[in-house]
Assembly symmetry: C2
Homo-oligomer: 248 residues x 2
């Protein structure tokens, strides 16, 4: 058996997220179906990030094992020919036996874009969230850095979250403003469900002046979903890149 690693880009708009769900079009489901048909064996893939419905990816990573001997480039082209145009395999690489896209990921980077000006052009609209009224970008910047470090992010995942250890290490958390848009960039060793979107929803409250940047440490300490802001809409979010140890 060979172990393979794919880099996958997708426009999330038409999909019910990454993870396989019965009777719904999901990115993982479509990839497994097309790969299985193409290789004539039952293929299961593991994705680095389980993106939600409507969330996009530029650098999702997926791993799978196969008995097929088709060269990586042929695999990439053949699979792209079978996939809907919203999903593209950007790269296929051979990796050491046992490589697992999620378990082996060292950190992941997400970006979230917010349009500050109305109207949003139809070229941008599927990839940004719109916020009415001005935002205090400096205050958002001060709030964003408070997420850096190792924290319990219980306040930033749904109340019913079943994961016990909700501590994650945020390596980068920053706000960039350009061309009438704000981009929030965050890099961490892992993310809880809805975490990035809830970080963004909280930063927007800070930007609107409804919350001070100095409130962030208290929100983290509360470990209570009710302490943080709302979960921002999915279309602004992109899984940008997944980082692995040297050599993969």
């Amino acid at each position: 058996m060979r172990s393979l690693k794919m880099t996958v880009a997708y426009v999330g708009t038409p999909f019910a997220g990454w993870q396989v769900q019965p009777r719904l079009a999901t990115v993982q489901g479509i990839l497994e179906d097309r790969l299985s048909r193409m290789l004539q064996e039952s293929v299961r893939i593991a994705g680095a990030g389980r993106t939600d419905a409507g969330v996009h990816a530029r650098g999702q990573v997926a791993s799978f094992r196969t008995a097929s001997r088709i060269p990586t480039e042929g695999l990439r082209r053949g699979l792209n020919a079978r996939l809907p145009h919203e999903i593209r395999i950007m790269q296929v690489e051979e990796v050491p036996e046992g490589f697992h896209a999620r378990a082996d990921a060292r950190c992941k980077e997400y970006r979230y874009r917010i349009a500050l000006r109305e109207p949003v052009s139809p070229f941008e609209a599927p990839f940004v969230a719109s916020v009415r009224g001005p935002l205090d970008v400096e205050a958002m910047r001060r709030a964003a850095v408070c997420f850096i470090g190792r924290h319990d992010f219980s306040s930033f995942c749904p109340a019913g979250c079943v994961i016990e250890d909700r501590r994650r290490s945020v390596i980068h958390s920053g706000v960039v403003e350009q061309d009438g848009q704000i981009e929030y960039q965050v890099r961490a060793d892992g993310f809880l469900r809805h975490m990035v979107r809830t970080l963004v929803g909280t930063l927007v409250l800070v930007g609107k002046g409804r919350l001070g940047a100095s409130a962030i440490p208290g929100i983290l300490a509360a470990r209570d979903r009710a302490a943080a802001g709302p979960c921002a809409p999915p279309q602004g979010l992109v899984l940008e890149k997944v980082f692995y140890g040297e050599g993969s």
Copy 2:
């Protein structure tokens, strides 16, 4: 009656072009329908460029007359609320009585993008044409400048073209390469049907070495559709901007 000028952006993918056609979804048709319903009067609009099926616009301009007294900003918002998300009204302005978006246009700018590298990400794919194999960008640049000036562009419009005077003045015609893409930019006082796409199809032949840049003057002089290259696919083309005399 007031005369109004709208700047319209659209992703052309789902539409059968700008111009009204029976039983087909066209940008002009949808705009006239939504405007007429909103203003409760029969509105006819004139567009600066009659973009073909699948061609996009960032700065299409349309004019119309109305008895309505709704302020321009209310009109813009109200119309956007009724339009499909692929069409956005970016601006509405009052203009002098009798303004006509096509007749009064001084010049128009189109851009055409070609992807040089495979695979094209799903974020880019709806807006670029793909060309296999390497292109000699320097030769394309030399060919592109040959289009500048006043020429008869009969070789670059369909053989059945009914317009008698096919002379147009090209003010700018240039090729820019960046990030694995080529962008052709062209500005002229007017364009014949399929003209930009046929200029691009011809430039691609030059890029592939199947035609020398020095062949362009002869192709123009031939005034024969068979002398030029093929009509490039629509999705790479964007009507970027329409220019008017000072004050509009």
